[in-house]
Symmetry: C2
Subunit: 218 residues, 2 copies
DNA sequence: TTAAATCTGTGGTTATAACCACAGATTTAT
DNA sequence: ATAAATCTGTGGTTATAACCACAGATTTAA
């Protein structure tokens, strides 16, 4: 268990919790490590989510279960990532998503009720844990809100502009975006080549300049 | 204060908390009532959110502050609604939104730290309060996720279809949607008349039938 | 009950984004 | 260093959604 401490310390759920405390805490929480092979299912759509998971090594995919049975990729989880937390906190009884291992992975599973209800020995960091959980959910909320604000715009140009402005920089300042073209297109929910077309047009119109991931608004 | 109990009991933040407990609880939380006139500001974009608010009477607008200074309506809060909770829980120091009274309103303000940190007298329902808060945030998360899943689709037809299927009914079953055309268009982030056009086409193509808010998928 | 206001559907036009195919650029692997 | 793989831009076509204007339907108010 202790060999995963480095990863766990980078997890937002355990932020501001000292490594010394971590060990006792994990015992309190009844944390268990689970290893899964590629293509193994960690949570099946329709089942009740019973654990909040933290990915230690490997890679997971969150798949959206279509009402016709088709699955589509919703998100990917990488090392240090947390999953099923919203489902647990919302008390969902039938998961709308399937969590599938894309590669051999190790995860840490935490019972939700143990996180929420102070443990008998009432470790002092328990309140911090709950605070972190609130912070994770609230943060995701704000991020999605902001993305919806962008994706909801009617034109591709408006989406790009708003996205760039969301960095809050001054005009003329260099913006380094964390996406390549394909990823940006996915984020904006538009076609990749349509995005490239529009970017070229915006450059021609003197609205922006860019090269690779570096953008400038005029 | 007590005259607002009926509204407070309908609030998700206080669900499963008995009215008897409510009074002591509100005292613990240092709840204060505030009345504002139309067009008064409850939270200004750029300011640090200090309280979680519950709207008792009246109506509030959440306005998105554009990076160019323009404000656009993001959401409306109606009686019993909660606001600024995600901002507080995420520890945001500069609110990206302004909360404005659309009419004379009364709100209850709760200090965030008091919600999170168990009060000295550690009232037994405190844990329930935190649980409710987690549930509110997690629920909003899932709802937004699901909406993003719909809005992100490339064609209007796909959006409508997915939206209708999200009700999870069998084909042929009657679906009563909670929106009129304009609201549905807003939800799907499309033009109202374009939506009407597409609905007509889908009916012609034998995919769906509808009349007012009643829809059927074939 | 009539008038006013709101909602919904529809025709028509135009702008725009999706889609396809491909080539040059860039990165990664060997 | 070369080949392979991936990423990005671009031309061209087509489907589609935005947009405008308006009329009939429906709801609300007086």
């Amino acid at each position: 268990m202790r060999k995963y401490f480095d990863i766990l310390k980078t997890t937002r759920l355990f932020s501001d919790i000292e490594s010394g405390e971590l060990e006792t805490m994990l015992k309190c929480l009844g944390a268990e490590i689970k290893a899964v092979d590629r293509d193994e299912i960690l949570l099946l759509a329709g089942d009740k989510p019973r654990h909040i998971g933290i990915l230690l090594t490997g890679r997971l995919n969150i798949l959206w279960e279509d009402y016709d049975g088709n699955r589509s990729l919703m998100a990917a989880v990488t090392s240090g990532g947390i999953f099923a937390e919203a489902l647990c906190c919302a008390g969902v009884t039938e998961s709308p998503v399937t969590v599938l291992a894309e590669a051999y992975s190790t995860v840490m599973l935490l019972g939700f009720s143990r996180i929420l209800h102070t443990c008998p020995s009432s470790c002092s960091y328990h309140i911090k844990l709950i605070e972190n959980m609130l912070s994770i959910l609230a943060d995701k909320n704000l991020r999605m809100q902001s993305r919806m604000e962008i994706v909801g715009l009617k034109s591709l140009r408006a989406k790009v502009l708003r996205y760039l402005k969301s960095f809050g920089y001054e005009r003329g300042q260099n913006i380094v975006i964390p996406f390549n073209r394909e990823e940006l297109a996915d984020f904006l929910c538009v076609d990749r080549s349509a995005l490239s077309h529009e970017l070229a047009r915006m450059k021609k119109d003197g609205l922006i300049d860019y090269k690779k991931n570096n953008f400038v608004i005029f």
